[in-house]
């Protein structure tokens, strides 16, 4: 269903002003979060930066934005804006023909999501202090803003978003499951289109900031939903569609960077469930005491689970499949393709792991939002009369059933995705389904 047929929505997307208004609000909020982290109360549960970034924003991102809008967050994210405006030399005005900065192309070896995998893991390893210490959160938020600005002056388009953002990598991966997509209407129109303004820009707007040619879009992964192509397409050939969930996974990717992103996200959710929500104080201490020998052991275990144990057992499961009636004429090539393709089954599973995990701490800590809203810096304000709201876990009775539902739903969703991927590479899906069943059981045990 084409949503851009709705005149109101279409004109809202074509016009730059509604998006600009949202951008300004988001940018103010982002800068305020940085400052709150740096100068506000060091008590995380009462600091705007912790409460609004790691509770409110995270809840919206993982429970609403990603599952239902894919890269919807990227469409309004303020992080790339100052860099992008600087790069363009304008906020709204048409682009200059001559670039203002270096405008280099990102080297080919970095044109994948490995850097995003690394940046996510870096934050993940420090997550215990990042999620609880306002000034660390403030510094990380500021670093991301300045990194985006720096990269915008060196490289063309949104190099930060596309190749470095620690959040963008998994949003892109999971956006394949979302029921929203931006696609062209008629491929022939794009083939015949001269100048390809959607990619190269025109007086109507900028070339795709995400370095994607919309005419070739088959997946949500790297489309940031910035809507620039809707404005630049001279043929009105771009549409935003409502579609079935996980439509992109019908034809799974065979990229190893994306495959490992799926393992990173799956493993991180499980480790967080154990370390942050579990009853093991020793693990919590190890994760929190960054730099201690216990933390190094924690980091090694963290990385081993993600890069060795989870992919190792997955490979083992696949090898059973490949050696059982599905001999491979080209050996390793088929194995790698099967590994990458079938790992797509872990995308809906990982997303639901994160949903289940996030439900726990979001519902437990959501009451902090009201208090922080009234006194965001911890200066004793009571702007909305909610500063003294007592901490109170919410919806505790439905938490466990909701988590179970999410995990079981994720398992079923994963099994269906595995079947499709297995058909593509002509192997059995059963070992992957069994693998998903085992990790889901572990996650259920960790959460419940």
């Amino acid at each position: 269903m084409e949503l851009t047929r709705l005149p109101l929505l279409k004109s809202a997307l074509k016009s730059r002003y509604p998006q600009l208004a949202v951008f300004i609000v988001m940018l103010i909020g982002y800068i305020f979060a940085i400052l709150a982290g740096l100068i506000g109360t060091p008590v995380g549960s009462h600091n705007f930066s912790i409460v609004f970034v790691w509770i409110a924003w995270w809840a919206i991102l993982i429970l609403v934005a990603v599952p239902f809008f894919g890269r919807g967050w990227c469409a309004v994210c303020p992080i790339p804006l100052p860099g992008e405006w600087l790069q363009r030399g304008a906020i709204l005005a048409p682009p200059d023909k001559r670039p203002k900065w270096l405008n280099l192309r990102v080297p080919k070896m970095f044109r994948n999501i490995w850097l995003q995998n690394i940046s996510f893991l870096l934050l993940a390893l420090f997550s215990s202090i990042l999620l609880t210490t306002p000034n660390i959160t403030g510094i990380v938020l500021a670093a991301m803003l300045f990194a985006a600005i720096g990269l915008s002056t060196i490289f063309e388009r949104r190099a930060f978003c596309r190749y470095l953002c620690p959040v963008g990598g998994f949003i892109g991966l999971y956006s394949q499951t979302a029921p929203i997509e931006l696609r062209i209407k008629d491929k022939q129109v794009c083939v015949k289109c001269e100048g390809k303004p959607c990619y190269n820009g025109s007086q109507a707007g900028y070339g795709c900031p995400w370095d994607v040619f919309p005419g070739g879009l088959t997946k949500n992964t790297y489309c940031g939903l910035c809507m620039e192509c809707i404005r630049t397409c001279p043929h009105d050939n771009i549409a935003v569609n409502l579609r079935p969930f996980s439509a992109d996974l019908a034809k799974p990717s065979n990229r190893m960077d994306e495959a490992f992103k799926a393992f990173i996200m799956l493993g991180s959710a499980m480790i967080y469930a154990g370390v942050l929500l579990g009853p093991w104080g020793m693990f919590k201490d190890a994760a929190y005491n960054v730099g201690s020998s216990a933390w190094f052991v924690y980091a090694i275990i963290f990385l081993a689970i993600i890069f060795v144990i989870l992919p190792g057992f997955f490979t083992l499961a696949l090898s059973l499949t490949l050696s059982n009636g599905h001999p491979s004429p080209t050996g390793r090539g088929v194995g790698v393709r099967a590994f990458a393709s079938l790992s797509s089954a872990l995308i809906p599973l990982g997303l639901m792991f994160w949903v289940a995990f996030s439900l726990s701490f979001v519902l437990t800590n959501a009451s902090y939002i009201l208090a922080a809203l009234s006194d965001p810096l911890g200066l004793g304000w009571n702007l909305f009369g909610t500063a003294n709201t007592a901490w109170q876990p919410m919806l505790t009775t439905i938490l466990a059933p909701a988590q179970t539902l999410a995990l079981v739903g994720g398992l079923i969703w994963s099994a269906r995705t595995a079947q499709k991927a297995a058909n593509e590479v002509k192997v059995s899906s059963i070992p992957v389904i069994v693998y998903s069943l085992i990790v889901t059981s572990i996650m259920l045990w960790l959460l419940l």
Partner: protein, 327 residues
């Protein structure tokens, strides 16, 4: 430049200035007193200026755990300082001087180091005649050994002692001056020329100690003890408070770093249930120890915090670990 571009730039710049400027302005205009565990800095600032006769409004917040705030020697109810919350308190000082504020919650091992001062300026009123504390007048050496040479075989009872006072020249012992200047052992020795048995003499000593205090004083002392002393000396006075073991273990290094003196030794908090130690100590000696502190042993000085009467109440309560009083 088109108007729309100009307008959007203005909006963006205004937004950024607001996002940066507003919090900074409010932050700099809201002077907060931050409470942190002593290991992390204690009070910040730890010196506050005030003027006599003018109300002093303070906004206090905790950056870590629950702390408490009170001002020594003032009749001000202590208030809790909660993490991330701001507590408003208004103080009023009649006289200039230096006042001590301190934490009233057992916030950590070095809780007792969480102190600061309020320097109150103003025209000095007529100086009140100051008299030295009793332990100074008596020229007591606070650090000299003072163990009792003998101790009772059973807990001395003021109830039993009261029945025996007819057999002794009790008025000699009933005065406050006698009570404060002498240890129970000294009183026990002084009673040796009476026909009482040793056990009976100890009972009479218990009665002397009881008759020099009141139930109100004991209750007040108990409250002060629970709030300020029990963390180290233990709820029942046995020197086994929640911080006792950790203090000995961690304290030595911190004491050395504090003063550079290497001969200082953190000591196990005094056991008030030890009869040798307690029966050998006079109230004046205990007053000195409380006023001055333990000088490198880990025992803080309380002279700037407790009033004289509070110290006597506290001492009266501490002796109750040794005597059986009438309830």
């Amino acid at each position: 430049m088109k108007r729309s571009e100009l307008l959007s730039r203005l909006l963006v710049i205004t937004g950024i200035i607001l996002a940066i400027g507003a919090p900074l302005v409010f932050w700099t205009r809201t002077p907060l007193i931050h409470a942190r565990m002593a290991e992390n800095g204690g009070w910040n600032p730890d010196v506050i200026q005030a003027e006599a006769g003018k109300p002093l409004h303070l906004k206090i917040t905790s950056d870590d755990v629950v702390h408490g705030f009170a001002v020594g020697q003032m009749d001000v109810q202590s208030v809790d300082i909660l993490p991330g919350k701001v507590t408003d308190i208004t103080l009023s000082f009649d006289k200039p001087g230096i006042y001590t504020f301190f934490c009233t919650r057992w916030c950590g091992l070095n809780h007792w180091r969480m102190r600061g001062t309020i320097e109150v300026s103003g025209s000095p009123s007529d100086p009140e005649p100051a008299s030295p504390p009793l332990y100074v007048s008596l020229n007591l050496d606070l650090d000299a050994p003072h163990d009792a040479l003998s101790i009772p075989s059973q807990t001395p009872s003021a109830i039993r002692g009261e029945k025996l006072v007819g057999q002794v020249p009790f008025t000699n012992y009933q005065s406050l001056n006698y009570y404060r200047a002498n240890s129970p052992y000294q009183a026990f020795t002084d009673l040796s020329n009476t026909p009482l048995t040793e056990s009976q003499r100890w009972d009479v000593v218990a009665y002397i100690w009881q008759s020099n205090t009141t139930k109100g004083s004991l209750a007040n002392g108990k409250g002060l003890y629970a709030q300020n002393c029990a963390a180290c000396h233990g709820e029942n006075g046995a020197g086994d408070g929640v911080f006792a073991d950790d203090l000995v273990e961690a304290g030595e290094a911190s004491m050395q770093s504090m003063s550079g003196a290497t001969d200082m030794r953190m000591q196990t908090p005094v056991d008030f249930t030890d009869p040798k130690r307690m029966f050998g100590a006079s109230p004046a000696l205990l007053q000195g120890k409380i006023l001055r502190g333990g000088m490198g042993t880990g025992m803080p000085m309380w002279g700037s915090i407790f009033t004289e009467q509070q110290i006597w109440d506290l001492i009266a309560y501490i002796y109750s670990f040794q005597f059986e009083y009438e309830h």
